[in-house]
Symmetry: D2
Subunit: 315 residues, 4 copies
């Protein structure tokens, strides 16, 4: 008995030490076609339906709206290579007698990937392959993607669940590179008296959003968040989207330096679950609003990889 | 002597009747401070509160979500001097073992003033003066407005009311330059068994949206809509916003060629009521959804004059 | 035996004549390394030296400067997918006592590929391979090319030679799809009493530039120019660049529909000879200036594929 | 009588000592119409003619070309509110048999006001008034200036004169806020055995260009250059343009804190003399090339305030 037990332990150990070091994305034939069919472009947004809407609406009891989006400004933190620029045009004065002047502005931005921001499925790949195994070189053009564009998503109305890991740990803010575990998620949900349901908008509070426009350098350098194990557990709960108050939702950099943002692949590419980044969660967390009507209206940009958004919680 | 006097009177009268044809914007001291106070930047959005939200929520009975926003694409109709450009970036392949590729796009657009679009108060002036008499030359900069920016608005959740003038007239689409009258609005509301309330999102269906991407030239050339009288009546009903399935909500060009888009001034500058343009209303009208929960999440762009949006109706 | 051999020869011949219809780009090992060495990024610009400058300077006899560049404006013809946009900024008035106001404009353009325009070697490929067999996927980034960027070129000062094919044919403008032949080039040069020399800037006048901003649709639809035979003959004369008063210098579309702009590959990729497009040649042609000092100052844009330019001829 | 005269003198003196502290721009009627006529838009560029070209050409003796422009890159120093962005487009592979791939890039920049840069007359104002008293509110539009646009300038070919003040002072680089005096200019010219002539391109070497991309913060913070007295003396010499190896050519900030960049007004607005900024002068200075053929080809951007350039010296 003892020898066997030791042997098993050894096996487990070596498996852990070998495989655990680097998550590997599944092969195309292991993940495609998607469970929503070979032509599907909507992934978990398919969980949006009249029932998810009614369930959300039933959570509206006080009429309080809580904004989850940051202001889009030139001084907000931006990932490398992205910009957010506004250029106010000269006022045009119309010649008619009512002296109507007209103002407008030009905006130059990776508008799909700045600020509080919703990731679509054209955003991330495993090699040349996107969600449902659409191929980048077949569906990309200079002016957008012919498949998986963000315009396919539409507004999402569903139950939102705040999982407050900072509160669970009794801190204002998780440590910069803290990897949220499955147990963390489960304990926080238990504390909040909630169970995840298919179609939920799962929102994770790390407290890191406090750095927004306060310490952009630190906010952008790395952040706490879910790792591979927590992401795979979450994906099995079948949420419509997973969001957080950090740039990438997931822990960054990943504790395993051999992989780059693997939760982006697990959610967007493998499971067709949207990510929602840079959320403003302070009010929600302070008020301990854990279940709420969640409403998000991504811009319907033809062929885009994502959309900046201004989602709300209503209770 | 007498003959001369009569002649003079006639001259005066005809002069008067000539001037009467042109609406004139009120002087600053007639419209400022706004009824919401001299510092107010939110105008009718002040009508948004927990009661308006609960009232809207009570209209959600089937859980059906109807999208009111058009897809943002390079082929949509655009007002002169505006653009909507997407440039897909080259795929970046991260060097790590999980072969994560990353896509994103640059968008160059008057993002506040294209597509289905929500007008803020920095957009329009009477001379140098904005809503609540903020002065353009004091609150404008090269990178946005320091007052009245669209980020002040936040999400709006309220009762939406569709006023279907096309249905009232028994046509698919009103004539290109038809001016909607007060009587039209009142008759359509009566037919729909509805009365306007303060804080409503008033949505006017002209049928003109059918031309979107079908006949952009005609869609952009001129359109039916409310005139001065209907706008002033509507403003007295105290709505949160007024929208339509046309570029400017109002009849364009105005039947009085001496004025340029006067309803823009009446709503945005004089009364602080937002406009919502280029709505997609076919589904709402076909399904005869006249009262509904209306939810709009304008982008929180610091200092901007407006926001492209993807609002929804829920019933 | 003999009959068989003849038969084989016939087969070979017919195969040749079939293939001959479509020019095929040479294999990498037939064109690399370039005659200027395996690391070379300058191609025929290597012909620029103090002797070419002095030779050009000796052609300056009257001090007359003739501009060869069109005005860059929003109404100029543009190839599909390109733009040229100017947005004038609001005037900034400095607060000091000298009341200094400042104006500037934002320009959004494929500035390397619009207007009168100079092509660099990162612009065109044969498959994945650029001039001197640099590989696109090794030298490209989201923000420019790490090899072959236009900043490597520098100003070019050399003898310019106008080859006036329109004059040779006695027409104002060659027919829209006329393919200029080797004989055309030779006859025009003979008529002008000139012989090409290594390092010349060869400028071909078709008359098509008369359509610029007069009939943009026709100007952009297709144009006369050199075909494969003339291009290969020209390349053997060892010019520094080849230009014309058309969008692509070469005949477009190519008479052989199986190939797409092959002269772009022959010049830029195979031979490292720059192209100079959309020249304004009316004045030069009218004044019969056939040999002149040619001076071009491409913008030194790091990593760019080309540069808009305003070259001059001086005589 | 005498008492009165003394009194008047006293008044004049105190007036002088008061005014002397701050240069004041001349009134419109003191500077308009320009000496080149009331409709003139070219200012000192009118000095460009066949004689200036021939004089320049005669200075070409060795055929050596020296580049005076910096590379345009995303890492170069930029004035506040300006940008220089390149976005490389995805490679388009044409479907034909010659496998022609096409690359190009989008550039977003204040292309008239970045890098080595040539100032036109729409760039600067005295109040609402430009060179030759064109009024900003009459000649500006959202898409450029209807008068004084940089497209009016054309290539300039003239004698260039390097005035090496750093060499005169025996330093690599003048002190950060050193104001170059009239005496400095005169002594340096004497040392170089040169006298200024009407139409010269006057190039001032401060050594400050050594900081370019080495210490951008310092380069941008302030710099040595000519002050009001030197500028007015220079203007009287009637040059075509004045350039330097600093961002604004002039000393910045001005020793008199009451005025903001007054030399910009003296040159561009009052005298119609172009400025040429951010020159790369190290090679010219090291080789002691003091008189040379100077050639600059500003982009012909309709209605623009300036142009990035890549000028050359030839000797």
């Amino acid at each position: 008995m003892r020898a066997i037990a030791i042997c098993a332990m050894t096996l487990v150990f070596s498996a852990t030490s070998a495989f655990a070091q680097s998550w590997q994305p599944p092969a195309d034939n292991q993940r495609c076609p998607s469970k929503w069919g070979a032509a599907d472009q909507r992934g978990a947004a398919n969980l949006m339906n009249s029932e998810s809407v009614l369930q959300a609406a039933r959570l509206i009891r006080t009429g309080e709206v809580i904004e989850l989006g940051h202001v889009l400004s030139a001084t907000m933190p931006l990932s490398a290579g992205r910009r957010f620029e506004i250029d106010t045009k000269r006022t045009t004065m119309n010649p008619q007698s009512n002296r109507r002047g007209s103002n407008e502005e030009l905006v130059i931005a990776e508008i799909g990937q700045v600020g509080t921001q919703f990731d679509g499925f054209a955003h991330q790949t495993i090699g040349n392959s996107l969600y449902n195994c659409f191929k980048v070189d077949e569906v990309s053009s200079r002016t957008g993607f012919t498949k998986l564009g963000i315009q396919n998503v539409g507004a999402l109305v569903t139950r939102g669940v705040l999982i407050d890991i900072a509160a669970l740990k009794g801190v204002d803010m998780l440590a910069d590179n803290y990897e949220i575990t499955v147990q963390d998620l489960q304990q926080a949900l238990a504390k909040e008296n909630l169970t995840l349901q298919a179609g939920d908008a799962v929102i994770i509070h790390t407290g890191f959003g406090k750095l927004w426009e306060k310490d952009n350098a630190r906010y952008s350098r790395g952040n706490p968040g879910i790792g591979v194990a927590a992401a795979e557990w979450l994906a099995r709960q079948n949420p419509m989207l997973v969001g957080a108050d950090t740039p990438p939702v997931e822990v960054n950099p990943n504790p395993d330096s051999q992989v780059s943002l693997p939760i982006h692949q697990i959610m967007l590419v493998v499971n067709g679950i949207h990510l929602l980044e840079n959320l403003k969660l302070d009010e929600l967390a302070t008020k301990r609003v854990y279940a709420f009507a969640f409403i998000i209206e991504p811009l319907k940009i033809q062929g885009a990889t994502g959309s900046t958004v201004a989602p709300i919680a209503i209770r």
